[in-house]
């Protein structure tokens, strides 16, 4: 058997972002021997990039706010594709999770009377986001990191786990390698919590870092777990577009929350043309009313600049395609004309810094050039809403890697609260499960087989540059599985993915096993391609436009599809895509949502929509 370092834990948490850390803290608190395993150094996970805030109906700024309104906003923002129970738990528990961070030392901005200040964000009826300037994610991850360190939880840093170990159906551990030494490592675990985030690195223009290679999704799929809604990818409307080296870098929605407006190249506030019927009742339809809303929220409806992200991203995409974009293919975001330089620097210090340093733009005087950037995937591992258990025993998932909570589109600020609420629930359930579960058996043959797979690139002497394959994959997903999708393009993407898979198997690796990024990428490609395939196949199945999934050939939102999840399973090495009904919202919650359903055409841009029945 290969030389593999071995460890045994009750609960192994993979990923050390908000969800992973929160899960580990909870599992540890409940007496489980817990390990956190993460690909980067501790505290560098993507949560750190979250800027605007944590959505929680604390009611500090608007006493009218409560969990029911938050629940409604979340469900409507998700185009009612959400798992109602998750949305309910999330809305109910988010305030406690935020207050808990204060118990661990977090310092949010304050209201005059000393409570947590909340800011406006897209799709939230009330100012609801607890925040720290525009670096809320940093505050959150550092608070959780320090809490986890103080509790003495074992952390395995720069350790990539690539495969789940199984005993029959049950997940009994995980296996991977130390990035620093290249040595292999295997964990036996009674329960594994996946908190690995998304798969943004499959796209060219993304706010995500190298880590976002879909590891958790791919591992769960391999272990037999169900995925749902993989076609639901979120393009954040405001990413940087210029210069090329920063393309995709996130510009927080807080810019719009704090007064920023979108304009096309002629200076028109184009968002007024893109208000969908579903949100018309609550959205200002004149510039006058929208401007007045910043000062008087009671008597005016909110500006369309703060529609949910999917709507804004599509609108920007349409403007650019119609030739009304900037020279670098974006639109303008302007906060300088509404707010003073002092206000901008105080509320949005890192945006100010980011534009100044990287783009030579002073946002207190100039407009920002922005465009959509792949930011998040609403789809992922199907979980039980209360326990975050995946569909195979011993496996749990929380955060971006899990699905259901956000439906077809996630509201800004709901991610950080999602991490905390469901991270805690996953940690709790995993710890409880580990008390009942018998000791895991780790199958040496399985370990050897995986060891061989991971070592293979060194032995095969391939002829393909993994960086090149990755780059081409990103272009493919960007062009063919982007904001606006079409059958023929999706099919073309599938064909190309097949070719990438064949080439990835021949990826060449040079150098030693010590901290070798070329090797790491060669291994990551398999996950990237596998998850990209799940996204593409799911996108092909869902023949409607809803939230983060827009079909040029099916531009209408179809109420029939609104009752279905697209489910992905891997059986005998092949992806199997089906649809299953969404759990029905109970009557008392349904009443909160209103009678209307999302309908109508999505703004797909300059292309002529293909008439239904054309294919």
């Amino acid at each position: 058997m290969a030389d593999v370092e071995r460890h045994d834990y009750d609960v192994v948490v993979i990923g050390a972002g908000g969800a992973g850390l929160r899960a580990a803290i909870e599992a540890d608190a409940r007496g489980a021997k817990t390990a956190i395993v993460c690909k980067s150094l501790l505290g560098k996970a993507h949560t750190v990039m979250a800027e605007g805030g944590i959505a929680a109906a604390l009611g500090n700024v608007w006493p009218e706010d409560n969990w029911k309104v938050h629940f409604r906003d979340t469900m409507r923002g998700g185009k009612l594709l959400n798992n109602w129970r998750m949305a309910q738990l999330h809305a109910q528990e988010a305030p406690d999770r935020v207050l808990e961070l204060e118990e661990w030392g977090a310092l949010f901005d304050r209201t005059k009377d000393g409570l947590i200040l909340q800011r406006d964000f897209g799709g939230h009826r009330y100012a609801r986001l607890a925040h720290v300037g525009d670096r809320t994610g940093l505050e959150m991850i550092r608070t959780l990191q320090d809490a986890a360190v103080a509790k003495g939880i074992d952390v395995f840093m720069e350790c990539t786990l690539r495969h789940l170990l199984t005993d029959g159906e049950r997940v009994t551990g995980a296996m991977g390698y130390w990035r620093q030494s290249g040595k292999l490592i295997a964990f036996g675990a009674k329960a594994v919590v996946l908190a690995t985030g998304g798969v943004g690195k499959a796209w060219r223009v993304t706010s995500n870092s190298w880590e976002y290679t879909g590891d958790g999704i791919a591992m769960a799929l391999e272990a037999g777990a169900d995925l749902i809604d993989m076609e639901m990818t979120q393009f954040h409307p405001t990413g940087m577009v210029w210069p090329p080296s920063v393309r995709g870098l996130l510009v927080t929605e807080g810019v719009r929350g704090d007064g920023g407006t979108l304009r096309n190249k002629s200076g028109d506030r184009f968002m007024f043309k893109y208000i969908p019927a579903f949100f018309r009742a609550e959205t200002a339809d004149t510039e006058k009313e929208a401007d007045a809303w910043y000062e008087d929220k009671k008597n005016n409806r909110r500006t369309p600049d703060l529609l949910p992200r999917d709507e804004v991203a599509r609108a920007i995409n349409s403007e650019v395609k119609a030739g009304r974009g900037t020279e670098h293919g974006g639109v303008f975001l302007d906060i300088a004309t509404r707010r003073s330089a002092d206000y901008i620097k105080r509320r949005l210090p890192s945006m100010y810094h980011q534009f100044k340093e990287l783009a030579d733009v002073d946002i207190t005087k100039q407009q920002m050039e922005i465009g959509p950037t792949l930011h998040y995937i609403m789809g992922g591992i199907r979980v039980d809403p209360d326990t975050e258990a995946a569909t195979v025993p011993g496996l749990y998932a929380a955060g971006e890697v899990a699905a259901g909570m956000h439906g077809a589109n996630r509201l800004g600020g709901n991610s950080l609260s999602d991490l905390l609420v469901f991270g805690r629930r996953a940690g709790e359930a995993a710890a409880e499960y580990s008390k009942r579960a018998r000791a895991p058996t780790v199958d040496d043959a399985q370990v050897s087989a995986y060891a061989q797979r991971m070592e293979a690139p060194f032995e095969k002497g391939g002829d393909e540059n993994p960086y090149k394959i990755h780059s081409e994959l990103q272009d493919t997903m960007q062009e063919l599985v982007g904001i606006i999708r079409r059958r023929d393009e999706l099919e073309e993407a599938l064909a190309r993915l097949e070719r990438f898979r064949a080439r990835a198997a021949r990826a060449s690796v040079t150098g030693s096993r010590v901290y070798n990024p070329g090797w790491h990428l060669a291994l990551d490609l398999e996950n990237l391609i596998g998850v990209s395939e799940a996204v593409t196949r799911s996108a092909l199945i869902r023949e409607e436009s809803r939230g983060g999934h827009t079909r040029d050939d099916f531009p209408k939102t179809d109420p029939e599809w609104g009752t279905k999840n697209v489910v992905t399973r891997k059986r005998d090495g092949r992806l199997n895509i089906t649809t299953e009904p969404i759990p029905k919202v109970p009557a008392e919650l349904s009443a909160l949502l209103g009678e209307d359903k999302p309908t109508g055409d999505a703004a797909t841009g300059a292309r002529t929509p293909v008439a239904a029945g054309d294919d």
Partner: protein, 261 residues
């Protein structure tokens, strides 16, 4: 676009040297982009840490022409067209490979810091803090743990033997954040002097100069901590006042209180 040439330090714990690489330059490129291009085109095993590429995660610390910098925030147009550009790993920590160093020193030190311990809640069960109090500490919470201050601090950069008894600027920022937290009830002043070695700092301010988050590490974290240590250890009048008032006065750090329920 013209080519750009950089010299990247390649090697491991046993040694290494600068190697020249020439790649195509793009508008707006940062040093990290150049390193990525070298990886993709010339040296796939070139080791480098990075994550956010926006100066928010603090992963891509290195020394560019001898200056501790985040590679993602160092624009290539800062350099003259024919400038000899070197990129090397941070010096304070042992090299693992190329630009990657073993920063576990920091994670070990972090474990020795007594965590936040909240004071009791207000009678209505809420916790109140005020913006003026929170703002002072929020400056310290901006720290992205890039460890550039640790790299530039000569106390450990040039004197390996001090690593045992000195925690470095990053941890004085953290300790200051905890000590000045309006709701913290833990006591650390003694520890700051004895265990974390505040006295080793000769306030030469290089940590402040390199901080990519513009935290005034020396003026706002280290010196106020030094003043607090003075009150607790060196100031005879503060000592006398404490005795007179039965060991309780404003000049002394608050007595540890039992944790809230």
């Amino acid at each position: 676009m013209p080519d750009t040439q950089v010299w990247v330090w390649r090697g491991d714990a046993s040694g290494g040297d600068f190697m020249p690489y020439r790649v195509e330059a793009d508008e707006g490129m940062v040093v990290l982009d150049v390193v990525h291009r070298i990886q993709a085109e010339k040296a796939p095993d070139l080791a480098v840490r990075w994550n956010c590429k926006a100066g928010k995660c603090g992963s891509c610390s290195a020394e560019v022409n001898g200056h501790p910098k985040l590679m993602c925030m160092t624009r290539m147009n800062e350099f003259a067209p024919d400038e000899h550009i070197t990129i090397s790993p941070v010096k304070t920590f042992p090299v693992i490979k190329d630009l990657v160093t073993d920063v576990s020193f920091n994670y070990e030190k972090a474990k020795t810091i007594p965590p936040f311990k909240p004071k009791p809640r207000d009678p209505d069960g809420k916790r109140r803090m005020y913006q003026e109090d929170v703002e002072r500490v929020q400056e310290f919470h901006k720290c992205i743990e890039c460890f550039l201050c640790q790299d530039v601090c000569h106390v450990i950069r040039d004197h390996e033997e001090n690593k045992e008894s000195f925690s470095g600027p990053r941890f004085f920022v953290r300790l200051a954040a905890l000590e000045m937290h309006p709701l913290d009830a833990n006591e650390r002043i003694d520890l700051i002097r004895a265990k974390h070695g505040l006295g080793f700092c000769n306030i030469t301010k290089c940590c402040t100069e390199v901080c990519p988050e513009d935290i005034h590490i020396t003026d706002n974290a280290i010196i106020p901590l030094k003043e607090r240590v003075v009150s607790a250890h060196y100031d005879p009048i503060a000592w006398a006042l404490r005795r007179m008032r039965g060991k309780k006065d404003e000049f002394a750090p608050p007595e540890p209180k039992p944790p809230s329920a």
